[in-house]
């Protein structure tokens, strides 16, 4: 497949407008944050928390929980708004985003954030760590499923492919990887046919629209999660900054804080 690959989206109803607005509010209040990266994965993370993950906000360390490792740590606002919505963290926690006394920063800290499973930020760690969790659960004879979300830029890291190689050979069927394929990585290394790579590593490879509820539901429902079997990767075509035209793409908005006029424009687009 050539580098001319483009994500194909059905152009359907924009999901999670309210959560997108909350993310923007957090970024403006905290004067920090990666809005487009969070928007890119928000629909995936929200689908996981709403329909897939078995977790308990009253007992985040519940031994039978599903694990969700957000390896793409700079997308953490998508995680935070879902942890907040499901009762893992409080209004006050959200209000303290990026403040010295708060528990929420621009990358999650597993020892501060209830419900977070990894302290991510440095790319290329979370997938291998998730492989260890999945292997550990199988050694214990447990049934916990393990989900990990990585970025396509993150997939430049060699450790991603080390982990893919070893997880396939260990037949970690309860491990499911989601790749946020917003084509950031292709800005630098355009010959990057991710589905072909994953198939070459022997994974059950699904390619979906990461902003489409039907695709997300069908993909996650199709995963068998066998204790010993071929692991699954869901390569989700996404748009960085999805939902607000001025934020979409790979330009200056990666880590930009909206000014008052921009904030008004973004909120109007999300109304």
């Amino acid at each position: 497949m050539s580098h001319a690959i483009k994500a194909v989206h059905r152009g359907g109803r924009l999901l999670n407008r309210d959560l997108r607005r909350r993310i923007v509010d957090m970024v403006v209040a905290g004067n920090n944050g990666h809005i487009p990266s969070a928007f890119s994965i928000l629909d995936i993370v929200t689908h996981l928390y709403d329909r897939v993950l078995s977790v308990d906000p009253d007992n985040p360390q519940w031994s039978e929980r599903d694990y969700f490792v957000l390896s793409k740590g700079h997308g953490c606002l998508a995680l935070y708004v879902n942890l907040h919505r499901h009762g893992f963290i409080t209004d006050e926690d959200v209000a303290q985003f990026c403040r010295r006394g708060g528990i929420l920063g621009e990358h999650p800290d597993v020892n501060k954030v209830p419900g977070a499973e990894a302290s991510s930020g440095s790319l290329g760690h979370g997938f291998s760590y998730a492989v260890g969790i999945a292997l550990g659960q199988r050694i214990k004879g447990a049934q916990n499923r393990v989900f990990v979300l990585i970025g396509d830029g993150e997939s430049h890291e060699g450790t991603v492919w080390e982990a893919a190689h070893v997880a396939r050979n260990l037949e970690l069927g309860k491990l499911c990887v989601v790749v946020d394929w917003n084509q950031s990585g292709m800005q630098l290394l355009p010959h990057d046919d991710l589905p072909a790579k994953w198939r070459a590593f022997g994974w059950n490879t699904l390619v979906i629209d990461g902003h489409d509820e039907r695709d997300l539901r069908a993909a996650f429902e199709s995963v068998r999660f066998a204790s010993r079997g071929i692991p699954t990767v869901i390569v989700a075509k996404t748009v960085k900054g999805k939902g607000v035209p001025m934020l979409e793409g790979h330009g200056m908005w990666h880590h930009r804080i909206p000014n008052a006029a921009e904030y008004a424009s973004i909120m109007e687009a999300l109304s």
């Binding site: 440095s122 760690h125 760590y129 450790t159």
Partner: protein, 309 residues
């Protein structure tokens, strides 16, 4: 000296502890595969020859710990400590996870293989990480004893397994994590040795005795936490200290001894260690020790030169 290699004791200890503890998991990077087969057979599903992918193996170890198991990660020192440093730093230490790293081939133990297989800076690197326990068990009984004391505690513990031994059989009751051992009393200077260099220190003590110096010898098998009390008391008495270590001069045990004794009046210090440079020559382990002055004669001469009375 035990005829058994410390590395073989590592395998034997895994077998013994693994049979007692179903939560012990061993993962190797394609070394020691043969000697660990008894463990693999006795503890099915808990032995993994993960492949040649040390950073991922390290992260996987952290994941195993997150799942509530007690991982042991093993391969050659530079590929674990140096290549996978960020995985140790973030996935174990920043996460606050427990675990065990067992290295072979530290310093220039893999003497003939050249600099790619040397690792002289492991103490220094590991000391920058919060909460890491660093041990250097240099007899079989030391490995077995220290491993059993540390492997299930809340820290990440590094076991630097040497290719040679110091030849002193300490009773199990004297081997305590974080505690040094006074091997010989003396009044004129202190020789602080870690690893197989205890043998060198005892040889140097004999030479120095013939020249009128009464040397005290301390043995340190735990670099972190360091037994500062033992070192301070000895150097306060003698006023002179030589540190012997198979580590580069910067960041090793010697720096810790200097820091520990900094408030004592007029302490004289010398370091018998590896210079801060690649050991580019080939040759045997003994050749390299000779070249950097880690011999009984070399250390005795260093002490006389530095502490001239």
């Amino acid at each position: 000296m035990s005829a058994k290699q410390v590395r073989q004791q590592f395998a034997d200890t895994m077998l013994a502890v693994g049979q007692e503890d179903p939560e012990l998991v061993v993962m190797v990077g394609d070394i020691s595969h043969g000697i660990l087969q008894p463990f693999a057979k006795a503890c099915p599903g808990r032995y993994y020859n993960a492949g040649i992918l040390e950073p991922t193996m390290m992260s996987m170890g952290a994941g195993l710990a997150r799942a509530g198991l007690y991982p042991v990660i093993h391969t050659i020192a530079p590929f674990l400590i140096e290549r996978a440093f960020e995985q140790i730093k973030l996935d174990f230490c920043y996460h606050g996870l427990h675990g065990n790293i067992v290295t072979v081939g530290s310093a220039f133990d893999y003497a003939y293989l050249g600099c790619t297989h040397h690792c002289y800076g492991d103490f220094a690197l590991m000391k920058t990480l919060q909460g890491v326990q660093i041990t250097y068990p240099s007899t079989p009984v030391e490995f077995d004893t220290l491993f059993r004391q540390a492997y299930r505690n809340t820290a990440l513990t590094v076991y630097r397994v040497p290719g040679s031994q110091h030849g002193v059989d300490f009773p199990v009751s004297e081997i305590r994590l974080g505690k040094g051992i006074k091997v010989a009393d003396g009044r004129d200077l202190t020789l602080v040795a870690t690893g197989p260099q205890l043998k060198t220190a005892l040889g140097a003590r004999d030479i120095l005795a013939g020249r009128g110096w009464d040397a005290e010898v301390l043995y340190v098998h735990t670099i972190r936490p360091l037994d500062e009390e033992l070192i301070l008391a000895s150097v306060a008495k003698t006023g002179r200290v030589v540190v012997l270590e198979e580590h580069m001069r910067s960041g090793g045990l010697g720096d810790d001894v200097l820091r520990t004794t900094r408030k004592l009046p007029s302490v004289q210090y010398a370091s018998a260690s590896i210079p801060d440079a690649f050991v580019r020559a080939y040759g045997s382990y003994e050749d390299h020790c000779e070249a950097v002055g880690l011999t009984a004669g070399g250390v005795a001469a260093l002490a006389e030169r530095e502490f001239r009375r």
